[in-house]
């Protein structure tokens, strides 16, 4: 099956000489939900806007549904739905008027009222956009993408600023779209979102893909599925080599006095760890274990946290 979204050696440098995207390759299949994950300024928006045909790449090829933007712009526009990272829709139109306006641009759109229902905006259908809350505006932005009745959905940070409930609800809408055969490309800062929503994802930093795969595979690549985190009361006795030698430890990271061990079998590692602590008559200040997350993958790959919050 041909890829729905494909790009090859994509590069983009802005006027100021900023290399926002440097050599990006992506291949997204039909029916997939693909996530671009990365910190601020990683080049997510630049990438997605090039794929959407809104930005000209400095070099590289883009094909969407087997066509290029240059030759089949109009046809492609009919088949994709877009929500930009930041759009302020007209404040003096109501929610329904806004959706009708967007629907009118497409040959065969979805009925605006259906989309209102899907995003639970019907209560606000006759409210002016200017009176909506931030989260409601965000949902309306996604609604303007869905009203296109698209085959491919591009969402740039669709859930930023939403409360947990609205986020979950939006995830459900996206899943529903994609269960019906639609393809989704979204960007996000949120690990849990990427883990739960995306089949595959690419972690982007400095305009390059630094890791790509299913969330499970990325976490497995980390070496362990669990993370043991601890801190010693006396910070001086912290020697990575010592911890590395413990049974079942795949990697060690120290960060702000805390040590994180990526481990395969915590039930073997933890007793050994406690033994070492006891022998050195050191004292534990803190000890937790958790499932490894994408955050750990990211920190491991870049040495930085994805979101500093």
């Amino acid at each position: 099956m041909p890829a729905v979204i494909e790009c090859c050696d994509l590069r983009k440098s802005y006027d100021g000489g900023v290399e926002a995207v440097c050599g990006l390759n992506l291949k997204i299949e039909a029916g997939e939900c693909f996530g671009l994950l990365g910190p601020n300024g990683a080049g997510k928006t630049t990438t997605i806007e090039i794929l959407e045909g809104l930005l000209e790449p400095s070099s590289g090829d883009v094909t969407i549904l087997g066509h290029s933007w240059n030759k089949h712009r109009r046809e492609l526009r009919e088949k994709i739905g877009i929500s930009l990272q930041e759009t302020r829709l007209s404040e003096k139109l109501t929610v329904r008027e806004t959706l009708r306006l967007f629907a009118s641009f497409y040959c065969e759109p979805r009925h605006p009222d259906d989309v209102l229902e899907a995003l639970e905006l019907n209560e606000k259908a006759d409210a002016l956009v200017g009176t909506l809350s931030g989260g409601q505006k965000q949902r309306l932005a996604v609604a303007t993408a869905l009203v296109a009745s698209p085959r491919v959905l591009f969402l740039d940070e669709p859930t930023t600023g939403l409360d947990p409930q609205s986020r979950r609800q939006l995830w459900e809408t996206i899943r529903e779209f994609q269960r019906a055969g639609g393809t989704v490309l979204l960007t996000t800062h949120y690990m849990d979102e990427a883990e739960r929503l995306c089949h595959r994802l690419a972690i982007i930093d400095h305009g390059q893909v630094i890791a790509q795969g299913t969330p499970g595979a990325l976490i497995a690549d980390l070496g362990g599925h669990h993370v043991v985190e601890f801190a010693l009361a006396d910070r001086s006795g912290n020697e990575p080599a010592l911890w590395r030698a413990l049974p079942g430890v795949d990697s060690v990271r120290s960060d702000d006095g805390k040590t994180s061990l990526a481990v395969r079998e915590p039930h073997k590692t933890i007793p050994a760890l406690l033994d070492v602590v006891e022998k050195r008559s050191a004292q534990l200040e803190h000890l937790t274990t958790r499932q490894a997350s994408l955050e750990d993958v990211f920190v491991r790959l870049t040495g930085r946290h994805l979101r500093e919050d």
Binding site: S90, F105, C107
Partner: protein, 371 residues
């Protein structure tokens, strides 16, 4: 383009509660125009500045210039021992109703003259000698001087050497308000054209709404046409409102046909719409387009004869003034409304406006940025 998959996924899933939509060629244009008009109708400030303010301005200026008879002058008579004699001379004069006299001391008279309260200071120095004091650069002072001098001389016994007669005219058509209304129409079309197009576009660009629109199959031409159409609709209302105001409140006589007035208005709206589009073609920020629009409009506010005739400017720059689009619009409107001149006679002025609009439009399309 051949697409294998039969129907879009989103509509497959849900049992369709409502029948699927099919849009025709003009659906986008219709909705864009409708949305634009709704937005305008819901902007109270816009309604006031476009529709409320110009009639108010006409009302204010119209009454200001109507209630003060142009030929009435106020003079200060400095108190001296000879003042009563001069006063009695003025009282005998035929023009006495046109001269308002205030008896004040010399200092007050000088102050009043400086502040524009008095047009002229008259200081009696003897029973047969008076001294006039005024600023020759103030036209009303010059007028007052000749009028008062005339009155005093005649009352003191001077005989006219030439027989003259006077015919006074204040017919509708030659009053200030008649001059003003077409000027206000022109100015209003310029303001709302430049702001309504230029400002609206940059605002949409700044809000990323233009980018959002071009991310849909929306036809860009339809978008611009909808914007232009909304301007033309507003133009009809603006022109009708101000003209109606002149006719009903000030009993203005409109000699030209409404159709030709609207046609001229439409050409004017096109010219200023084009300039607005050009001003908005690149600007990313509201502030920069505001500055640009003001720079473009400023010379026309001054030179194009909105409130006063541009005939007062030096002859040397008159040809340039006549090449400004607002001058052409104002002149064409005045000729049609006040003199009922035929549209054919306005072709030069229409051409001037058309060229401004056309060239601006062509450049704007080359430079315009949607993102």
């Amino acid at each position: 383009m051949t697409v294998a998959q039969p129907s879009s996924p989103a509509s497959k899933k849900r049992p369709l509660a409502r029948s699927a939509l099919r849009n025709g060629r003009w659906a986008g244009f219709r909705h864009l125009l409708g949305a634009r008009l709704l937005e305008l109708a819901r902007e109270r400030e816009v309604i006031f500045w476009v529709f409320g303010f110009p009639p108010l301005l006409a009302l204010g200026l119209g009454f200001a210039f109507r209630n003060k008879p142009a030929d009435r002058t106020t003079i200060a008579l400095v108190s001296t021992p000879y003042t009563s004699h001069v006063l009695s001379l003025i009282d005998q004069a035929r023009e006495r109703s046109a001269i308002r006299t205030e008896r004040v001391d010399r200092a007050r008279a000088a102050d009043g003259l400086r502040l524009g309260k008095y047009d002229l200071v008259v200081e009696p120095l003897a029973d047969d000698r008076v001294q006039y004091n005024y600023d020759p650069s103030r036209p009303e002072s010059v007028l007052s001087h000749s009028e008062v001098d005339d009155a005093l001389q005649t009352a003191a016994g001077r005989k006219p050497v030439l027989e003259t007669s006077v015919h006074l005219s204040s017919e509708p058509g030659s009053r200030y308000i008649d001059f003003l209304i077409p000027g206000l129409i022109g100015m209003n079309l310029m303001n709302s054209g430049m702001w309504g197009i230029g400002f609206a576009l940059v605002d949409m660009r700044q809000r990323k709404l233009l980018k959002r629109f071009v991310a849909t199959p929306m036809r860009r031409g339809d978008f611009l046409m909808a914007l232009a159409s909304s301007r033309l609709i507003l133009m009809v209302i603006e022109v009708g409102l101000l003209l109606g105001f002149g006719v009903f409140i000030f009993h203005m006589r409109v000699l030209g046909s409404f159709a030709s007035i609207l046609l001229i208005g439409a050409v004017g709206a096109v010219a200023f719409g084009g300039l607005g589009l050009l001003a908005a073609s690149r600007a990313q920020k509201i502030e920069s387009v505001s500055g640009l629009i003001n720079v473009v409009m400023m010379p026309m506010w001054i030179f194009s004869g909105v409130f006063f005739s541009y005939e007062r400017f030096p002859a040397l720059i008159q040809p340039f003034i006549k090449l400004l689009p607002l001058t052409a619009l104002n002149d064409a409107l005045r000729a049609t409304i006040l003199e009922g001149s035929a549209l054919a006679g306005q072709s030069g002025r229409l051409l001037v406006m058309f060229l401004w609009g056309g060239i601006a439009f062509a450049l704007a399309l080359r430079w315009f940025r949607w993102t």
